[in-house]
Amino acid sequence: MNAPESLRQRRPLVTGGKTVHDVTLDVCAPAERWGSMAFWSSFSTSQTAMFLYLCAWLLVQTIGLKLVGINNASDWGSFIVNFVFWVGIGHAGTLISAILFLFRQNWRTSINRAAEAMTVFAVSCAGVFPMLHTGRPWLAILFVFPYPNFRGPLWTNFRSPLEWDVFAVSTYATVSVLFWYMGMIPDLATLRDRARHPIRKFFYGLFSMGWRGSMRHWIHYETAYMIFAAIATPLVLSVHTIVSFDFAVSILPGWHTTIYPPYFVAGAIFSGFAMVVTLLVPARKLFHLEDYITIDHLEVMNKIILLTGSLVGFSYITEFFIAVYSGSPFEQFAFVNRAFGPFWWAYWIMMSCNLITPQFFWFRYIRRSIPLMWTLSLFVNVGMWFERYVIVVTLTRSFLMPSWGAYIMTFWDVVILAGSFGQFMTLFLLFCRVLPVCNMAEVKAFHPDTLRQIRESHDHD
């Protein structure tokens, strides 16, 4: 039996009969007109959340960390939960921009810019938490980076996973910004060439570095793009591996397992793709990009959520099985405690959101239904936050009974978590207003008409 027409033929990446010139007009439009009501209302909401965030910071720093819920039983608390959550969110952007580029997945072209922006902003949100957790963030920079000093000189402990994390996350942030910026140079030149106002001309001119679309430059640019993809691919896998080492290299039951690196990486991509769907579904409406970020793009992302979600679910079950199989009473207790201890509710939120939710994407109807996929992506975001919560907080029942205790997030923990979303959304909405949301140069290069013309030019030989 023949497959239906829609399955046999790859659908065009740009719909609605848009020409190459339309790509320029549509993608530049949000940066060239006054924001809509929807934009300003969401922006002011995000700004308010960010303002509360800054107030909460100020209070927590001046009064002290006693305002938040950390104690001897759980001395990392929500800060590490949020840190790992945000770093994980970032991974989808690099996956789309680097790994899918190496696999020649051309559908990535219209979503890679927004996803990379998300990476940069998510990592910036993540970076705040370890700093905040030191209690004296203005000194933290001196704790984490090695520098010559008069205390011996004492250097940072390069054998510690926390120090590896400093290098991994700072390298990841730098490489993400550089990759994102380099990809934007040709599009910034487009905005510069369309600009009328001198201030716009100046800033877009400054950041487009004098790009003028020369073929000799494109050759270097394409090579550099390929190299960025090639170095960002092992980098992104290493970053969440090293984040998982923060836990796995310790010798605590429930943490000291070899499954952590792959399981963290799969979870990071899973949560990141869910966040991409959460953001792009409203963004494509708000900025009228439905012809570039089509329902087919969203469907492919939902397939990746299904794949990585199944990997994560499989890891949960493997982890539990190995704990039972290990014969170690401490390991067994750690897992039974996760599922049936005082934090059983967090465990079952995690299990239902991460194991069951993505399975709905087996159905084509759900993969292509905007309201359903958006709702499911929210469940995944919640589930992945709770995954880290479960990992961190269930240690309040560790293998030494005197160190048992209770962990309760305070009001300020919640404000800081909500506020970090405010920071993220503020940055993302600003990005949508002043920078090109889609990679115009790449969308044009993979425009159905361009592909046809290049194919025809080969047939001519």
């Binding site: 390298t171 730098t174 004098g210 640019y221 090579t223 290049i454 030019s457």
Partner: protein, 175 residues
Amino acid sequence: MTEQGILGYFDGPKAIILGAKRMRKTRQFRKWDAFTPFAVHTLDEAMDLPRSILPWFVLASGLSGLTFAIWFLSWTSAVNFPIWVGGKPMLSWPAWVPIFFELTILFSAWANLLGMLGLCGLPFHAKKPLDLRFTDDKFALWIPSDEPGYDAAALEAALRGAGASDVRVVGKGDA
């Protein structure tokens, strides 16, 4: 200083690829260039432009990052302030591999961006765009006046013969 030369406009990627191939049938160009809104694949082959040497810079920089990391961690841990913990060797390099890796990547990434801009001569040797629509949807071949054997009239005829929809002489005597 304004550039001088001749611009031949083509209607789209197919026309410019075929145009570049037809132009090369009669003679070779050393200094020509094309302006396109995106990287037109196979146009570089059609124009016989050389590959980028950027990967060598990135390799060199990545290796120097690795070397620096090995030296710096060995020096701080074993020479400058050695701390003997739990009978473990001073040069416990397996625990340093993550940092070796990250610094290799970090140095490569900087060399990649700066090397790309340097090889393009940007931003310090940037030239004015010859047409603002090249970053939108226009395609053109550009033959500068310092090309050996430059002859505007002959080149104009050749460009039109190669399929150019419009030809514009840039520079002296041209507004």
